[in-house]
């Protein structure tokens, strides 16, 4: 501590003067109701259906609204729909009762026509939301307040897919030539990309992509007026600059706080940190089906051998990763899904201490007493400390003679490796927006065919399991369905398809006097901000 304090002198003392010195930076002083909000990246587009992507939805939730709202505990609550359910007559039809007296920002009233239009727009390619509505066959307005959605079969969890599907004005969309979601390939820009008009609590005042977006409170909003009346949203890509902006009082809330700065920020006068678990877990997986690995010197595929997979799970020290790499800001877990999700159990989560001796024996037993080499592909700008976690794993596996070459790169280069089956061993993080295990199985466990298994980089293929996964989509008896989910998980865990590390914990840092709770999907709402 002694030398630390020499170099970073008494920030506390310096920051007590924040209020006073901030006045010097005239024009940057916020009124009590303005929130200056910074995060690492910007929303990709303001179009409500064009992209299925976290930061894009986060901003959209302030301007547009969805039929149902995901609460912090994962449950659903009414938003533009006041009631919903499966109709008694037909178990393939969902009904939604639309809230009355909702106004768009241009003053027009929201009608069922707008809802039908929006759901149709969202499910029509090139909308980025189409995959979530693939089972929808028809959307109809049955009366002035009710909308029916008919699906290709029984879909007991369909409403879970609606938490990011926004409602827009049919008249506005048609008047501005954006009746269908804009396509990247269209070769012309679309009005809805940088203009927005919804029913949400805020109206768009200024949009300068990647620089600044300004929102102001919508006076005629149907819900209670939020405490925040103006939002200035600024993406700041560099971690050090982002933290500096908060420390120097230029922003009020920083959403993507580097783990190593959390403790320091907490100790800083005038700044506080809110934290909470994210609905996302981080794991490694490997090609366990090919005959040979592309990056390995081993004659056969070592990952195909269950003993090797077991040895690796004994070599990984999840607690060390949590304590050092994540500075305590993670939930180590053997379960390859976050606790929020239907299908998670306490038993899946449990893991033992690393046992290098036993791991070494297993490696010898498997025929690799001298280990083997392999490349690990890792993103370096996607998850919290992704590259450092991979680096730590390299050290841990080196102790059982698995000689790992680390290839860490940007996410746009990393993910195609998994999708194109060009990696032997990789890191992936998975969030579950539907809060149900089926989402995990569909993308990560089912054999790759059609829309299934697009992120199944392990090439794992099990016909039995595939059939079970497919059956989940239409099972209406939820208890029986949960039993099938448990069966699938048992098999997945026994096979060690995933080498799980932890569930991510999110931290938002903000100036004292402002409170914003962590959102499990990392989609915070400024409407929930409170001022002391």
């Amino acid at each position: 501590m002694s030398m630390k304090s020499l170099l970073l002198p008494t920030r506390g003392a310096l920051l007590t003067g924040v209020a006073a010195t901030a006045l010097v930076l005239s024009g940057m002083v916020a009124t009590a109701e303005t929130i200056r909000w910074a995060r690492v990246g910007d929303s990709l587009t303001l179009d409500p259906h064009s992209q299925n992507e976290g930061p894009t939805h986060t901003l959209a939730h302030h301007i547009y609204e969805t039929l149902v709202e995901r609460e912090l505990d994962g449950s659903l609550s009414p938003r533009l729909a006041t009631e919903w359910g499966i109709t008694d007559e037909d178990d393939t039809v969902w009904y939604f009762t639309i809230r009355e007296g909702v106004k768009f920002h241009d003053g027009s009233e929201m009608t069922v026509e707008d809802v039908v239009f929006s759901l149709d727009r969202a499910r029509t390619t090139p909308s980025g939301m189409a995959a979530l509505h693939a089972a929808v066959e028809e959307v109809t307005a049955v009366d002035d307040t009710t909308v029916h959605v008919r699906l290709s079969g029984p879909a007991p969890l369909y409403v879970q897919n609606l938490t990011n599907t926004f409602i827009m004005s049919k008249a506005w969309a048609e008047a501005n030539g954006v009746a269908i979601a804009p396509n990247y390939a269209a070769g012309e820009e679309a009005y809805s990309i940088r203009n927005a008009m919804g029913t949400g609590p805020y109206t768009l005042v200024e949009r300068d992509p990647e620089v600044r977006t300004v929102l102001r409170v919508f006076e005629d909003h149907w819900d209670d007026a939020p405490a925040v009346t103006e939002i200035i949203y600024t993406p700041i890509a560099e971690a050090a600059t982002r933290v500096a902006a908060l420390l120097s009082g230029e922003v009020d809330i920083v959403q993507d706080v580097p783990v190593q700065d959390i403790a320091r920020l907490e100790q800083t006068d005038g700044i506080k940190v809110m934290r909470g678990p994210e609905n996302r877990n981080i794991f490694f997986s490997y090609d366990m089906s090919s005959d040979r690995l592309r990056s390995s010197d081993a004659a056969e595929n070592p990952f195909a051998n269950p003993l090797v997979r077991e040895a690796m799970s004994l070599a990984i020290d999840r607690n060390a990763i949590q304590q050092v790499v994540m500075r305590g800001e993670s939930q180590p877990s053997a379960a390859p899904l976050p606790p929020f999700v239907n299908g998670w159990t306490e038993e899946m989560h449990v893991f033992g201490d690393p046992d290098l001796a036993r791991a070494g024996e297993l490696m010898t037993e498997a025929g690799y007493p001298n280990g083997f080499t392999v490349q690990l592909d890792c993103p370096n700008d996607r998850y919290l400390n992704d590259e450092s976690i991979c680096q730590a794993l390299v050290g841990m596996l080196a102790r059982i003679n698995v000689n790992v070459n680390l290839n860490a790169q940007t996410r746009s280069l990393h993910f195609p490796l998994i999708e194109n089956w060009e990696t032997d061993f990789y890191m992936l993080g998975w969030g579950v927006p539907t809060f149900d295990s089926q989402y995990v199985f569909d993308f990560l466990v089912h054999s790759r065919e059609g829309s299934y298994g697009s992120f199944n980089g392990s090439r794992y293929s099990n016909a039995d399991l595939d059939a079970k996964i497919e059956s989940l989509a239409t099972m209406t008896d939820l208890e029986a369905r949960d039993a099938v989910i448990a069966e699938i998980w048992e098999e997945v865990i026994n096979e060690r398809i995933f080498l799980n590390v932890h569930n991510q914990v999110l931290a938002y840092a903000m100036r004292e006097g402002v409170t914003l709770d962590v959102h499990p999907e990392n989609q915070p709402r400024m409407t929930t901000v409170t001022f002391d």
């Binding site: 310096l14 990247y184 890509a237 600059t241 746009s412 993308f443």
Partner: protein, 328 residues
């Protein structure tokens, strides 16, 4: 004269074509644009469709030819990432970069010439020695580190200057967004301008010093002294004046590199200019923006080169094409 200009123009066009080819060709290998454009959940079939629609399946030369045809008309297509015409995007970010480059260029020039003259006239003095040595520290640390240290000291600890962005901006005309007319805009400019200009300042300072020392030894100056002119008149009226031609040339030529090197400064300070736009585009493999940016940089270089060539030609026809020696 006309033949010379034509030849030079033809060469410039050739240079531009080469840059275009390099830019376009190489960035096709940086990564898969589709992967960065769609979410994790998009199906393989949808991806294939998008790939076809974007023309990414066409033969390479056809893609390049189409690119050139459109580029000549100022049409670089639509940014994959921001879904906005690239030209419009670049024009909206250009003022930020040009203001930054201009301010750091002027700063580098003024301080560079000042320090250069001082150290040349007071060679051997301890102040000169200190200036020369500390200026070397500026070029011995990576730009990003200097930027971060400046933020740490002046924004976080002292809280004198903003740590990121341009502050308040106002429009001049329809599209030129300036930060020079507001107080917070000017305050925001200081740290990035220092970071960006430090290297150029050192360069100019050293050049001025060397040129000054050179000129001060010439007979011309000796005669001037012999004529009884004051030191002041000799130093500034004669020596500096003679020094300035190559210095201004070099500074002009450096403007191109300043714009190119603003990539790092803009990244560190979240400066909303074309450099930051470029590096973000590289991360997302936004080919149209990357290609357009490289073409823009090339154009700036080529135009500056051309002007310098023509000026040299106008000033001294004997030099003709050969100015290689003049600019080291």
């Amino acid at each position: 004269m006309i033949a010379f200009i034509l030849r030079r123009l033809a060469q410039s066009v050739l240079v531009m074509l080469t840059v275009a080819l390099v830019a376009f060709a190489l960035f096709r290998f940086v990564g898969d644009p589709i992967a960065s454009m769609v979410g994790q959940e998009t199906t393989l079939a949808e991806r294939a469709e998008l790939r076809e629609a974007l023309g990414l399946n066409d033969p390479f030369l056809i893609q390049f030819w189409n690119f050139i045809l459109r580029a000549v008309q100022g049409d670089f297509g639509i940014s994959y990432r921001l879904q906005q015409p690239v030209m419009e995007l670049i024009l909206s970010r250009l003022p930020a970069t040009l203001e930054l480059a201009l301010v750091s260029g002027v700063m580098a020039f003024v301080f560079g010439v000042g320090f250069g003259v001082y150290t040349a006239l007071n060679r051997g003095g301890w102040i000169s020695g200190t200036v020369m040595t500390t200026s070397l520290i500026g070029v011995s640390l990576p730009t990003f580190l200097i930027g971060i240290l400046l933020i740490w000291v002046f924004a976080v600890e002292l809280q004198w200057l903003p740590s990121f962005g341009r502050g308040e901006t106002v429009y001049i005309g329809n599209w030129w967004r300036t930060g020079l007319l507001t107080e917070s805009g000017r305050a925001s400019l200081i740290l990035p301008a220092i970071t960006l200009g430090l290297y150029q300042m050192t360069l100019i300072m050293r050049l001025v010093r060397a040129e000054m020392l050179e000129v001060l030894r010439t007979d011309y100056i000796k005669f001037a002294r012999a004529r009884g002119l004051s030191n002041r008149a000799v130093h500034f009226g004669h020596a500096l004046k003679n020094t300035l031609v190559p210095v201004i040339t070099i500074t002009g030529l450096q403007m191109g590199s300043i714009i190119a090197f603003s990539i790092i400064t803009e990244t560190v300070f979240q400066w909303p200019g074309v450099g930051a736009l470029f590096i973000n585009s590289v991360r997302f493999v936004d080919v149209p923006v990357m290609a357009a940016y490289l073409m823009l940089i090339a154009l700036v270089f080529v135009v500056i080169n051309l002007i310098v060539d023509l000026l040299y030609y106008a000033v001294d026809p004997r030099l003709r094409v050969d100015r290689a020696n003049a600019r080291h």
